[in-house]
Symmetry: C2
Subunit: 260 residues, 2 copies
């Protein structure tokens, strides 16, 4: 059946887009790897078919074999405490790596679950480790990515440790906006792929609080919410509310200080 073959060679989200042709290669692991060397990286990467919403990419306790890069869609990673309550550690957008926390213990400490239909690249870790011995650019970038992850987690600790509910949600929205923007999407308008409950579990708030804050922000004219859709009407004021020197997303756009 030729039809079967045809099915595969299509859209932007084709399962087999090589790193070189991938629209994310300026954001993802290949950053800083020589174009000539990207093929080698490409060769060890395994493209999986899309994960339907709600499916797990891995679960806490699973043996560690690979790290994953999100290609399309989004994931959440989370820990479940014995009280049953989830702590969401992160929401992961295209171009971001998940599973870096598993290297040390050879097992995944967190579970990862698709928030929508999501495809990922699987990168077997032993191969990656070997390859990065040969490609200085790759080793560099790997260390950088891990360092950035540490830094991001620290930011989250600040948020959880000392910000008010209002500040938390504002910071969360600004952060999301920045990340979408860097990926070429609108900074002022986007869809949340996660539920209010997930946001609460991420920010250390009850989902009711999250909900109330959305309506309050809306009443204050900061944004407009419609279910999952968010439109930021006054980004600057929202920044103020977040109680943090916000990286102006202007600066982000200009890539002034970013990578390298």
């Amino acid at each position: 059946m030729p039809t079967r073959k045809l099915e595969k060679v299509v859209s932007l989200h084709d399962i087999r887009v090589a790193c070189l042709e991938c629209s994310l290669n300026e954001i993802c692991l290949p950053v800083g790897v020589d174009a000539d060397d990207i093929e080698q990286l490409d060769a060890i990467i395994d493209r999986k078919r899309p994960l339907p919403r709600g499916d797990h990419l891995f679960r806490a306790g699973d043996a560690f074999k690979s790290i994953f890069a999100v290609r399309a869609g989004s994931l959440k990673t989370y820990a479940t405490s014995q009280s049953g309550q989830e702590q969401v550690m992160g929401f992961h957008l295209p171009g971001e790596l998940v599973g870096l926390d598993a290297i040390a213990r050879n097992a995944h400490p967190l579970s990862a679950r698709a928030l929508e239909t999501t495809s990922v690249c699987e990168i077997p870790f032993t191969d990656l480790e070997e390859l990065s011995m040969q490609l200085p650019g790759l080793q560099r970038e790997l260390l950088r990515v891990m360092s950035r992850e540490i830094h991001d987690d620290e930011q989250n600790m600040v948020i959880l440790g000392q910000k008010s509910a209002e500040e938390r949600l504002a910071a969360f929205l600004i952060g999301l906006s920045n990340r979408f923007h860097r990926r070429g999407f609108s900074a002022s308008q986007f869809n949340l792929s996660m539920s209010r409950g997930d946001i609460g579990d991420y920010l250390g708030l009850a989902l009711e609080t999250v909900s109330r804050l959305f309506t309050r922000f809306q009443n204050d004219g900061l944004l407009r919410v419609d279910r999952k859709h968010i439109e930021l009407l006054n980004r600057d004021r929202l920044c103020l509310f977040s109680g943090a020197r916000c990286h102006q997303h202007q600066a982000e756009t200009a890539k002034s200080s970013r990578s390298n």
Copy 2:
């Protein structure tokens, strides 16, 4: 030359103890590096003279040149929000690395300050990066250490995101106890090098709350406090209070699941 060798073999806290003779080499970066190769690692390391209590090793915003390993004493790393309030990210004991969060941005996002007289090994990062291209064991360990840091930060996010004050302090004490124990000190009795305020800033609590909890734990017979000195009287019950499956420090001792 036997003389050169002799120079090196002195007191435990001698400024110039080489990695090979350092009592921490089973805990610190050299883990997993071949004994033959440790000399090379040793060669790039710069031993500084001790930092007096209260001095900064680096400050937020400083250019990133090196990572540091604590040799003796202890440090806290912290961010200061514009409200002036500190968020303490970690307390660092001998054998632990600090500064890993600076790699990505080429600048330190946090400040690091000595909690007591503290000596550190300075490891220039470019040298380290280069060397780890040659020594697979070193690259491996570096990735592992960073991964562990990510994992630890995630644990802290759980603590800050969903634990009660009581659970936080209990978890903190158990964690400290484990870390002391791994370094060969008593697990049931130790001195805190940080103030109540620091503990509060670490756990996201007011110092008054920390103080109250100490006295409450003492009244409950869980521990004895005398200023900086802590004696854990009922580790198991304290574990329960922490609301986490506590790694029994037995297991820790046996090194059952630890590294490699």
